[in-house]
Structure formats: C-alpha cells, structure tokens
Amino acid sequence: MRVIDSDVIIDILRGYPPAVAWLAQTIGKEELKLPGFVVLELIAGCKDKQAVRQVLKLARRFSIY
C-alpha cells in the first residue's frame, strides 16, 4: 500500500509519462491511498465545476483516510 501526495496525483492527472509509467510498472496491483487533505488541495486547484466533478470522481474511487 502506498499513500500518494498531491504532486504525484497531479502528475498522474496531467498524464505525465514518467508518472504513468510508474503506475504501470512500479505500482501495478499495489493499493494506493489518497489522504483527505490531498483531495481538498486538488479541489482548490480546480479551474471550474467540471474539474471539481472530475476530482470528486477520482476521490470516490479511492480509500480516503
């Protein structure tokens, strides 16, 4: 299990190739967890309601702690 911080999830949301490769090759079937404050930071970084909806969709898929 790994906890991911804001910069990592932002890189993943941006589709940054090294982050995507890290997900596929290093993480694979390992579980990821998202801290609640990271979700709040991501929401703070949203430009519009559509982006907020996307972040909430992401958050629903994770175990938030």
């Binding site: 911080d5 804001s6 910069d7 932002i10 890189d11 993943i12 949301l13 941006r14 589709g15 940054y16 995507v20 890290w22 997900l23 596929a24 290093t26 993480i27 694979g28 079937k29 390992e30 579980e31 990821l32 967890k33 998202l34 404050f37 709040l40 930071e41 991501l42 703070a44 970084g45 430009k47 982006a51 996307q54 969709k57 992401l58 629903r60 898929r61 994770f62 175990s63």
Partner: protein, 134 residues
C-alpha cells in the same frame, strides 16, 4: 453478544462483486468474493453494533428468468428485490492498474496554467493552509 449467522447474496457486477445482507439491509462491494464478503461483515458489524435482530428463518434464495413465459405472480417472492445493490459503502481498493484504466489519467493534460508540478502542489498546500474562512 453471541454470534449470529446472516445471509450474504453476492453478484458479479461491472467487474467487481456486490454483496448484500437481506436481514440487516447492508451491502458492500469488493474486487473478489472474499473481499466483498469481508466488507459486508465489517459494515454489518458496524451497523448492528449494540442492536439485536429478532431471529428470522433463513431466507430462500433462488433465481428466476424473465421473458418468454408469462410469469406466475403467485410464485413470485420478494426475494428478487433484495438483489438490487445500492450505492457502494466501501470503496474498491484502488491499485495502479485500476487507476490507469479508470479514464482519469490525463484529464488535466490540457492544464496550461500548471507549470512545475511540485511548485503548483506547494502553492495549493500553502493556499489551503492560509485560507481564511468566508
């Protein structure tokens, strides 16, 4: 409290397993049958904490087909209604592979306002920490 046995109805849905306990009205999901069952046990224990359900007969769980032959309404039980799965109560564990196939990777690819990711993340954290109540 003495141990009580409850029914678990588990169905495969959209690549995961949805579990429901008809006696307690609880439900859960899991990537495997075992995980769905463990989640259902946890949710039911949580919801029934301090609550003692009246003893009920074990329900008859069966299946039926719709279409082709007219249904004999006298034979229909309400059991089928318990198969409906509501909103999931426990999330499915998110893995690297699941995130890759979630359709969420790259949704911010067009964010030209984000330069250096680390700097942007730092700015968001600082903004969250210094935010004043409105």
């Amino acid at each position: 409290m003495s141990a009580q046995t409850y029914t678990a109805i588990i169905q495969r849905q959209n690549g995961h397993y949805a579990a429901e306990c008809p006696e307690a009205g609880t439900n859960s999901v899991g990537a495997t049958v075992e995980i769905a069952l463990a989640n259902l046990k946890a949710v039911t224990e949580r919801d029934l904490s301090g609550v003692h359900l009246l003893a009920v007969d074990a329900p008859l769980v069966t299946t039926f087909a719709i279409g082709g032959i007219a249904a004999d309404y006298d034979q229909i039980t309400t059991q089928s209604e318990t198969l409906a799965v509501e909103e999931q109560m426990l999330p499915i564990p998110m893995t690297g592979e699941a995130l890759l196939s979630s359709g969420l990777v790259g949704i911010w690819a067009d964010r030209t306002d984000i330069g250096d990711t680390l700097e942007f993340a730092r700015e968001l954290r600082q903004r969250a920490q210094t935010r004043e109540h409105e």
